[in-house]
């Protein structure tokens, strides 16, 4: 694995929506590298013919029936919101269009 650069860390921080300080960027660049090197050993044993396990206990087809039930009272939803206006969650202006 290639070493993690400071600009890699900046890119990751942007993806992860973390407003890291300059010191943090430097700090994590070093630490991530060490950690990833130490975990890179997993590639040594994981051969192509080994199936991945995403669930520890294999299960299939767990469904619920299509029956609607009332959700939460809006007052309760509003009470937990950082900002609320006109029965909706208020959020700051959006720059990125999705």
């Amino acid at each position: 694995m290639t070493a993690i650069t400071r600009s890699d860390v900046e890119h990751l921080a942007r993806l992860a929506r973390l407003d890291l300080s300059e010191e943090e960027l430097d700090h994590y660049a070093g630490q991530l590298d060490v950690i990833l090197q130490s975990v890179a050993r997993v590639s040594e044993v994981a051969a192509d013919d080994i199936p991945p396990t995403s669930h520890p206990i294999p299960m299939e087809n767990v469904f619920r029936e299509d029956v609607a039930r009332p959700g939460l009272d809006r007052d309760i939803v509003a009470a937990g919101a950082p900002a609320w206006e006109d029965d909706r969650f208020r959020v700051p202006r959006i720059l990125d269009e999705e």
Partner: protein, 508 residues
Amino acid sequence: MSTVSTDHDTMKYDDVMAVFEPVIGLETHVELGTNSKMFCSCPTAFGAEPNTQVCPVCLGMPGSLPVVNRMAVESTIRMGLALNCSIAPWCRFARKNYFYPDMPKDYQISQYDEPLCFDGYLDVLVDTDDGPRLFRVEIERVHMEEDTGKLTHAGGATGRIHGADYSLVDYNRAGIPLIEIVTKPIAGTGALAPAVAKAYVTELRDLMRSLEVSDVRMEEGSLRCDVNVSLNRPGDEWGTRSETKNVNSLRSVERAVHSEIERQGALLESGGRVIQETRHFHEDTGRSTSGRSKEQAEDYRYFPEPDLVPVAASAEWIEELRGTLPELPSLKRARLQLEWGIGEHELATIVNAGALELVESAVAAGVTPDAARKWWTGELLRVANDREVELADLPVTSAQIRRVEALVADGSLNDKLARQVFDGIISGEGDVDDVIAGRGLAIVSDDSSLIAAIDEALAAQPDVADKIRGGKVQAAGAIVGAVMKATRGQADAAKVRALLLERLGVVE
């Protein structure tokens, strides 16, 4: 009305087509018509008060967990079968990670490299100058995912996202099941690309309705398309494609492909280069503006959703679902063509007008196939186009068409008056008889008042009267015309003619 400036020049469509070939692709998202959401039991009713159909799961609250709606899976499989897809014997949900305030968990539960349905096709009929043509649109995949919340932009001048001071989020829509249908690249359409795109989406819509997996209310935004377009010179490799998002009506699908072809054509002809980017379509202008380029694209970091277990569709389950499929639109069209006794071209006209179901329901209500077709693909289609609405959204019922036809048949109305009746209905003047009464449209069928009008016309034009009496029957037209004028068109011309000849004692 638009404040958005387009950031591009265009070239005339036919000029572009003289030089380039288009390749298009469509990604269509449709909300399924389930009672409850994809991963929680919240109701899905449209138009509810904001944030009243939410719970810890669809608000993405810490600790909450998703559970898959069986009906949504079955609807997706049925749709896959109707699209001639293979159904995956085993597949998983995946998380698509990106931050956006309308997405409660900041990831969307979707499917990634293991879609539930894949490798299918849909045949669509497009009306051309040389008669109808059949195109096979190949389907790459059909998968399940969840919808996002709805944003309202506040402040600023336009109500648009740009320039807004802040936004408001209603999560009622968050978690409503979506089906995503992705085509393979569609090449070989030539100049028909916009028509093929529209025909494909129309066909998808009809298919969903006939399967009853969704009633596809376009005006409520329950069907959304992303349109990919690229151009290449004949013989060359396919060009770089753009992806136009936010294309939310049948008409817009056609317009979006059309305008993107014009834009790319101008760009390429002037020596420019198409960049791989996301563009945003604006319904008001029919044009798109540049969004995010792929260079700054998100990295969605997909991985299998650990909170859900795989979906394993057994052969028995698939066959059971196949058994519930209704008559599919393509077969239905062939049947109706026979039943209605019409040609392929007439049928293509009906289909392209998006009028198949309308004609069908009119016929079921007792209107003759000819009359139903005539009204829906003629006058009513013209009005819909004028008003820039979908045909099905016109407030005209089968019963009204039947009533108008009955009045025409018994001579109470003629075609011209009938058109005025529909104009009145669409303008909200009430039902057929209300409009007739309100506008005073009934044909003058009272013999004595017609005879009075005839006598008046004869007195005004004595020379013409003499000619007719002398056997020049073709001169009768002048008198008939005068009578029609006097009755403001509300007379049956044939009847006026007969009465006139009888009055003058002339036998044809």
